[in-house]
Symmetry: C2
Subunit: 347 residues, 2 copies
């Protein structure tokens, strides 16, 4: 960028949600005397007898896991959403509520308790993607399920209560808030340009190169111009695909490869198993056509300064506006310069 | 409520932002094996030589605090917003940015390092409110300052790096995101009803009583029907006041009293110094009239199950929708039943 935005406070627009974020590039000089987190524990066993996600073990709900060898999914024993909830709506003066129903599932990425995505082999990550595809399709096809949210909370700092590699899926009747915002932006752009806004965005970023972290045949991983979290990234297919169900075999491998490459970069930032929440945004499963959709996976990692100091989204951020201290370009520079080999293998 | 919403998953509408939140009342049965926080440290000294907020001490920027005896404010040594930033805007294809300027201040609530709002005397809390009034007025009157955000981050789990009782003010040129959403709802209601939506809401809640935690002559503290955080509350003046500058002397005392009462209740939930972010939303200082505004102060506290287990707003919440596990009514019942005396004085 040729203006003063590398050094001066400014706001950037998230073209997918229509929301602004405040950037304070000069603020990284601030000393930190506050809370530090424990850094991630390492050297987990391949099988952990007390883990309710390991093969053959008893789950919290009393069922036993099969002796699974590939990615394995099951209905969450403590689902936040339930199927067959009676449809009701409630209006009393200024109080408005409505029933909601859905299905929550847990997806174990691997039988191996000690792994994480960056440590898994590409074909095994591709198996995870295959299971996501199957779940998106099957859950989405159910009557009353109009949205399928696939996500992963990684690390105890992200509320993950078990290090066994796993993610979740919450499928539900109503279109969630964050997705609704994106639907509106994607639609508005599609209607004027007959192109997905993300196709045009990828084209621009590939020309600029400044925020591209990894690129392969079919996919790009970049730090979006409007990133909120310090090392927030986005993985996008180059081709406009409304959902993961449409990936070709070779695109699926490309996706698995870039997932591995990006998460290796993450672990290499602070030589720690990098915590994050990741999620895939894709077309609703409401039975209508979604030519405007271009699926993408975002990573929201909280760490800012070290393996133990995170960015707090509190006070000003909760009441006013998301705010970040390093620019997307600074974060991209750091990530680009890191090795493509996982730090644990570099000795 | 006479329907099944006390037990079944549902969504509720936030009438101030137009956003929905997912409620999963059945989910509190979930066991917790995840991250626990350190509970708040107690027994702080009245004066702490290494604290950069205590009277007469050196601050991180090299200045010295005066020997202040009343609430004291100064410009943040590491401000995220800066005054006199050159006005610029940037547009390059799908990248949009614009400069932002403002002023960040720190407000010390008391010279006494060991206090918190619930432990302060009502007249001393009233002095804090007086300082907030002065800052709102003076900052808001400055050319180019259209919004003044007063807030407090309390507890290291909320990113607060110093236990000395203090809050912050970020005043800026643009209207922040969260405030913009509220402006739209407040305006829409005002235009149709010629009443503030919050006047009507308070009236309804006072009739129902279900979510009212504390009430005094001029103020109400309640758990809003659409609360997101487990023990989220809101303090509102009964009279429609666009901003804190309009409080009468007796209203100011009422406000100080209810602040003390509510924060005592908070500390009594888990017998700990309760962490939260609190913020005051009020009329923009953009020089135009705001008949639609009704100022209110919200508390977003993260603790859910105990002094050490918080609610994580991650994964689903980040990608889809805010979600809560206990209903507003359950939280209100707990808070109402707690003593009005601070647990530390009950021995
Ligand atoms: O300004 P402080 O107290 O150092 O910092 C804290 O409050 C700020 C405003 O809510 C946040 O941006 C920071 O992430 C948080 O750590
Ligand atoms: O379902 P888990 O892993 O027990 O719980 C975690 O993820 C959920 C979905 O993002 C959140 O609602 C919880 O707050 C979090 O602790």
């Amino acid at each position: 960028m040729t203006n003063s935005f590398n050094d001066n406070p400014h706001r950037r627009l998230n073209i997918l949600t229509g929301e602004w974020i405040l950037v304070s590039p000069h603020r990284t000089k601030r000393p930190w005397q506050g809370k530090t987190e424990k850094s991630a524990t390492k050297d987990l066993p391949v099988y952990e007898p007390s883990c309710y996600l390991c093969p053959t073990n008893e789950r919290m709900g009393g069922e036993f896991n099969p002796s699974y060898e590939k990615p394995y999914s099951f209905v969450n024993d403590f689902s936040a959403l339930l199927p067959n909830v009676k449809e009701e709506s409630y209006k009393n003066g200024l109080l408005f509520a409505e029933s909601e129903s859905g299905i929550c599932k847990v997806v174990c990425f691997s039988p191996n308790h000690s792994l994480t995505l960056p440590l898994m082999e590409v074909p095994d990550i591709a198996e995870v993607i295959s299971l996501w595809q199957k779940e998106y399709k099957e859950l989405g096809a159910k009557v009353g399920i109009n949205h399928v949210q696939i996500f992963e909370n990684k690390g105890d700092i992200m509320g993950c209560s078990n290090p066994h590699p796993h993610g979740q899926i919450w499928a539900q009747n109503k279109i969630p808030q964050e997705v609704q915002k994106k639907i509106e932006s994607l639609k508005a752009y599609w209607e004027t340009h007959r192109r997905s806004i993300l196709e045009d965005y990828i084209e621009q970023e590939l020309k600029l190169q400044e925020r591209i972290i990894v690129e392969n045949e079919h996919f790009v991983a970049l730090i979006p111009y409007w990133a909120v979290w310090p090392y927030e990234t986005m993985i996008l297919p180059k081709r406009k695909l409304a959902h993961i169900g449409l990936l070709s075999e070779s695109e699926k491998i490309s996706y698995a490869e870039i997932l591995k490459q990006l998460t290796i970069k993450y672990d290499n930032i602070f030589n720690t198993s990098f915590p994050y929440s990741a999620g895939i945004h894709q077309a609703p499963t409401d039975g209508t056509d979604h030519p405007e959709w271009h699926f993408h996976m975002s990573f929201y990692p909280p760490l800012l300064r070290s393996a133990t100091v995170k960015k707090f989204m509190v006070g000003y951020e909760m009441f006013a506006n998301p705010q970040r201290d390093i620019t997307a370009e600074q974060a991209a520079e750091t990530m680009k310069s890191l090795s493509n080999e996982h730090y644990s293998s570099l000795g």
